[in-house]
């Protein structure tokens, strides 16, 4: 039936679209109501982490700012005291700002961080209505303290938190 082939093919096309119209379930995810899980290595908004005792991991070394290819990170360090201790060791980040308009989510800051203080999380809902809101200060980036008495800054025993970079094993991802 070679003669009728063009017409039959047209009909087969119509049948295919009608089948998907009638029977195929839609693949749409209704975004604000239902959200898809991001991939395990997704690079979203940055998070500044704390140790389990509530002290900040960030020691204000500015290595992330140095590594940042788009110059999105600004860090200003100050001295810790045992009366007002933010992080272990000598210094902490008194100012930590990330400009989300510049950030390209490359993850170099993560790699540069000696204390694993900054990681790229899974939050991608970064819309804002004011350009000033694009600059995320430390308060927005820092993860909440485990409890109120374990927050930073806090008064600690002298001579305990002397080491700014904790002893870490090599990562074993594989």
């Amino acid at each position: 039936m070679g003669v009728f082939e063009p017409v039959i093919e047209l009909g087969r096309g119509l049948a295919e679209t009608l089948r998907s119209f009638l029977f195929e379930p839609t693949v749409t995810i209704q975004y604000p109501e239902e959200k898809r899980e991001v991939r395990p290595r997704y690079r979203g908004r940055h998070i500044l982490h704390r140790y389990e005792d509530g002290l900040e991991k960030c020691i204000g070394c500015s290595l992330c700012a140095a590594a940042c290819p788009s110059d999105a990170i600004f860090v200003e360090a100050s001295e810790n005291t045992d009366e007002k201790r933010f992080s272990p060791g000598q210094r902490y980040a008194s100012t930590y700002e990330i400009n989300m308009m510049r950030c390209i989510y490359c993850g170099f800051c993560e790699d540069a961080c000696p204390t694993e203080a900054i990681t790229l999380g899974d939050n991608y809902e970064l819309a804002y209505t004011d350009r000033r809101d694009a600059i995320y200060p430390k308060e927005k980036l820092l993860e909440p303290a485990p409890s109120a008495d374990m927050s930073s800054p806090r008064k600690v025993e002298p001579g305990v938190f002397t080491r700014s970079v904790p002893e870490m094993k090599n990562p074993k991802d594989w």
Partner: protein, 404 residues
């Protein structure tokens, strides 16, 4: 003349225009939803229940959009073109019967705006005016893409209008009148009785049963007339950056958009009127008498409840529109030389054959007073359609072998 007649006309005309405007808005919603569903998406479902307020949101957006007029356009034609495109698509619907008539305040109100005795001629002539708008838009835009779109639209519409006219002629011959009301009335007659063992189902003589090929050709040609896929060469986004309306924005663009969708609606109404029984109910008026347990169906006939006429017409239009959307979702755009050769070398001879076969069959049936001659019409026209299919195949083969 009574002032109430004027009032009635004004109200009917206004209602018709409003129906077409709302219909246009909701056709965009319908198309987007159906197209999305075919493509395994959801489509607009945010504004209102199931996205039913989406057309209103779109309208608000289009009204408030900035309207640019490029500096080098020929302003008069540039401003006139959208108007020339929209108005024919609105006034086209005036002669289409939406139903019979009903009594209100002691007056008989007919469900059509005008009852022209040359309704079919009116349709063909008004439908052709719209091409002026398109070609003026393309020319006055001072843009080569728009110009090409306009030229393509003109060539395409002129080519396909011949076949369209012959399909109109076929319907005129079958209805024995140019009045659309009488064409619809002729289709309410019983064509034959379908004999099942427990019931005899009378089948109305809708024209597409007598002339299936004519109806098919009409549907294909209307796709070309309203510049729909697969014949949307004049506004091919990929090659012409939207063709004749590239330079239009804001409300002027909306007018072109409106004209296109209103023409879709109106031409579906015309197709329903000419070939699918117009405002008649989908079953024959004699069906309620066929069996006692079918008596309740008589309340669903337009003869008993005239207000159901527009509803039936609307249902038919929705089905025909779905066909257009379905085809848009399925078939790719046809190449321009093939579009022309399909129009001139296949559709035009086929519609000539269809018109000739129909006229001959009806003439024979009248001369020899034997209804059996009517059956020659579908048989012969299907044979001619098969011949046309063979020619399509030869055409494609010749092109693929590189010979002309």
């Amino acid at each position: 003349m009574d002032w109430t007649i004027w009032l009635e006309w004004v109200i009917k005309g206004l209602v018709l225009c409003l129906v077409l405007l709302v219909g246009f808005a909701y056709l965009t919603w319908y198309e987007r939803r159906a197209l999305a569903r075919i493509q395994v998406r959801v489509g607009p479902n945010r504004a209102g229940y199931q996205g039913l307020l989406q057309p209103i949101a779109d309208a608000v957006k289009l009204i408030f959009k900035e309207e640019l007029t490029p500096s080098r356009v020929y302003k008069v034609a540039f401003l006139l073109a959208p108007v020339l495109t929209v108005v024919p698509s609105l006034v086209l619907a005036a002669v289409i019967p939406l139903g019979t008539s009903f009594n209100l305040f002691g007056r008989t109100i007919t469900l059509y705006v005008a009852n022209l005795n040359v309704g079919v001629l009116y349709l063909t002539s008004i439908a052709s005016i719209a091409v002026y708008g398109i070609v003026l838009a393309g020319w006055s835009s001072n843009n080569k893409y728009a110009m090409l779109g306009g030229v393509r639209a003109t060539a395409q519409m002129i080519s396909y209008e011949l076949s369209l006219g012959l399909c109109f002629a076929t319907a005129v011959v079958m209805g024995n009148s140019m009045n659309l009301n009488e064409i619809v009335n002729a289709q309410s007659a019983v064509l034959f009785n379908l004999n099942l063992d427990f019931i005899k189902i009378p089948v109305s003589s809708w024209n597409f049963l007598i002339q299936p090929v004519g109806a098919l050709v009409f549907l294909i040609v209307t796709l070309a007339e309203v510049n729909r896929a697969p014949f949307d060469m004049p506004e091919a986004e990929q090659e012409l950056t939207a063709g004749y309306h590239s330079e239009y924005s804001g409300m002027k663009f909306a007018l072109f958009f409106m004209a296109e969708y209103q023409k879709m609606i109106v031409i579906s109404m015309i197709a329903a009127t000419l070939f699918f029984g117009g405002y008649l109910q989908p079953f024959s008026a004699a069906l309620p008498n066929a069996a006692p347990w079918l008596g309740w169906l008589s309340y669903l006939t337009v003869q008993k409840t005239p207000l159901l006429g527009p509803v039936y017409l609307l249902l038919k239009v929705i089905v025909l529109l779905f066909g257009m959307i379905w085809i848009r979702a399925t078939w790719p755009r046809i190449r321009y030389d093939r579009l022309m050769s399909f129009g001139w070398k296949i559709l035009l001879p086929l519609s000539f054959a269809v018109a000739f076969i129909t006229a001959t069959g009806i003439l024979l049936a009248q001369e020899f007073e034997n209804q059996l001659y009517l059956y020659s019409i579908p048989v012969l026209s299907i044979i001619s359609a098969l011949v046309a299919v063979v020619f399509i195949y030869r055409d494609l083969r010749r092109k693929s072998h590189g010979r002309i």
